[in-house]
Symmetry: C2
Subunit: 415 residues, 2 copies
């Protein structure tokens, strides 16, 4: 029998009514003859509430204990969902990450899955159960409870789908799929029918929030077909698949997938950095030692032996990195650094741009027509990102969306 993995996010199970609606959907799939494995996140704001409680007690909660605390959220959601499915006369059993055989490394708060041992899950499926698995959590190789980081439930779902050889991994969410741009910013944004792993990765990295990057990487590595769709309708959503994979919506891939906006970063500039070998290494090793993720890096050409070096980091990590920057500028002999939090990153993503020259030029022109200044540029084979003033960002997204013919026919109704 074919196995379907379904993942429901926090909004899909936010209260008793929604949990019952999710149970109805699960039972329908079961009655259609599928083996169903459900991965569930914590209800609504539970994780944030628990986090606040921990911070009320300590500003820097012990990571091992914080993981123990946060995993209570999925435990509550999964058992309530199992109760709801059982109440419909359909047998269901819930399993913690540990019971489901999700083995991780020991990095509390952002553990990586190192192995899945799905023996118990298989036995439960064979016994006729709908299997419900806690997302976001695992058991470390030290036998401690770990969490996979924000959005980790997506990764749990893809990893379970890979381990079980599932037909599809359905990611249920509160939107209808992946869009050509955020519908709140671009009212004419359209749902994408299919998108490649690579494009989805670039979109996710560029700020699209619908899927966690790590889960897309995992799906690409294991070839799991992912279907992102709404938990409030039965409409198909967006298929995230390999370029060579067939899906029911067998249409040709578009030139451009979409436009993403990321307004969570800050730009750090080190001015008049001595332009000699080893300086960049010194800087980024020191930043990496603080476990801060650097995104874009731009270095201008040298003038009189010095250069300006800029990079972007998550805005909420600025406080953590400031003391490192103080040390660095002294060490390398630069006069000062500046931090600019009023920036946003606008990205255009599409596998088609690999074979179409001029995409970058079109994008820059669309921005210049709006009088929007570009402060940093970075590109990959299928993505172009520009840093602009934060206040210009939404206008930039709309201009690019229109320029590349992504606008739908009519504004979407508010869901």
């Amino acid at each position: 029998m074919s196995i379907i993995v379904q993942k429901y996010g926090g909004t899909s199970v936010a209260d008793a009514d929604r949990i019952r609606a999710v149970a109805d959907r699960i039972v329908r799939y079961r009655e259609n003859g599928h083996d169903v494995v459900v991965v569930v996140s914590a209800m609504g704001d539970t994780t944030d509430d628990l986090l606040m409680l921990a911070q009320e007690i300590s500003p820097v909660p012990e990571p091992r204990e914080l993981d123990m605390l946060l995993t209570a959220g999925e435990r509550i959601a999964m058992s309530l969902l199992a109760i709801a499915v059982n109440a419909r006369g359909c047998r269901a059993a819930s399993y913690t990450g540990s019971q489901a055989g999700i083995i991780t490394d020991t990095r509390h708060g952002q553990a990586k899955i190192v192995e899945i041992r799905p023996k118990r899950i298989r036995e439960s499926l064979e016994a006729g159960n709908v299997v419900i698995v806690a997302g976001f959590q695992g058991l470390s190789t030290n036998y401690d409870i770990t969490t996979l980081g924000r959005g980790g439930s997506d990764t749990t779902a893809v990893a379970m789908a890979a381990a079980l050889g599932a037909e599809v991994c359905e990611i249920y969410t509160d939107v209808d799929g992946v869009f050509t741009a955020d519908p709140r910013v671009v009212r004419t944004a359209r749902r994408i029918d299919r998108i490649s792993y690579e494009e989805m990765l670039e979109l996710a990295a560029a700020g699209a929030k619908v899927l966690q990057s790590r889960s897309v990487e995992y799906a690409r590595r294991t070839g799991v077909r992912v279907h992102v769709r709404s938990s409030f309708t039965d409409e198909p959503g967006t298929w995230v698949v390999g370029e060579e994979q067939d899906v029911e919506v067998g249409m040709e891939a578009a030139l451009i997938s979409g436009v993403a906006l990321d307004d969570t970063e800050a730009k750090v500039t080190l001015e008049q950095v001595p332009d000699r070998p080893g300086v960049a290494a010194t800087i980024f090793k020191a930043v990496a030692a603080e476990a801060v993720n650097v995104d874009m890096i731009v270095q201008n050409v040298s003038h009189q032996g010095t250069t300006d070096l800029s990079f972007t980091i998550p805005r909420d990590e600025v406080p953590r990195v400031e003391s490192v920057l103080e040390r660095i500028v002294k060490e390398i002999g630069a006069p000062r650094y500046t931090v600019d939090e009023q920036i946003a990153k606008v990205s255009l993503v599409g596998a088609g741009m690999k074979s179409h020259p001029g995409v970058a030029a079109d994008m820059f022109e669309a921005l210049s027509e709006q009088g929007i200044n570009i402060e940093m540029i970075s590109t990959s084979a299928i993505r172009i990102s520009c840093v602009v003033r934060a206040g210009d960002a939404e206008r930039a997204v709309r201009a690019i969306h229109t320029r590349f013919g992504l606008d739908g026919e009519a504004p979407r109704a508010e869901g």
Copy 2:
């Protein structure tokens, strides 16, 4: 190094401030050179809240899943407490029932501990940690999560103390110890300094709520010394120990320990039951098959071949037992049964009454002086219980308390 087990109930960890206060106490013990193992209940009303959530989804939640759900409560409390202790610079680690090696049978909702495998707890203590263990929960021999039933955290604490050979099991609560009567009913009630396991068992069974009977049985079987005390003060509370055990408060045991009131039962009477062998067995086998706990049983002398037979059961189990009673009266040929919910049970407990004749007579006289009618009587070697009208119960408790010289000198201030 001597090991101390401390158990904190839900009121002691009801919010962040109280959790911090408990952490302060734990750190103080640790600094005094003790190895400390802490057993903790869910915060405040968490368990009730989770139960209501489950019942909103299904009136009869699947027991396996209900246990999975409820155990989230202790998980939250224990990790927050570990965070609080760590924040004081004192290393602490929390462990679920499963991680602590608490192995139970498979009866969800009222599992019994069958074994404790404290290897991981010992290793954590040896590594210098304060060890925090989730109360109320365990792992079944089928590897499913179980709960021990209401008040199960007391049992967890005593069982851990037994398995680790702890010097003492301290039960922290929101009262100062075990009292000669409920201070809300008898304002002159006094705290008992020491009480034997047997008397404590009788008091608990007779309605005193401070300790769960099962935990006292466990302590008696394993010889664990239990100290029931307030989490809001440093005053000593009540030692629950074997009659032969010495405690710091080495005073002689009193004749009478206390007076208990239980207003949670109902009286069932089968009228004109044919007085022939096997009838009682038929009745109580049928009731036991519904897993209803029968407490007192009284059968009057026979008149013309029939007798009235009365017994008490928990009032909230009356609906469940009614259909059985319908069937029984037909089967044994009795004309009818009645259920009386307006009763209360008043009990006098004391090991001293074994060697003092006349205690029962004194108790009955105290009641008759108040014009209180006794409806049922049952006795053990160290307890006398009388069923009276519910409306007379508090007056009965006060009369007996005074008659046996239990009144303290002055009314206690409200805590």
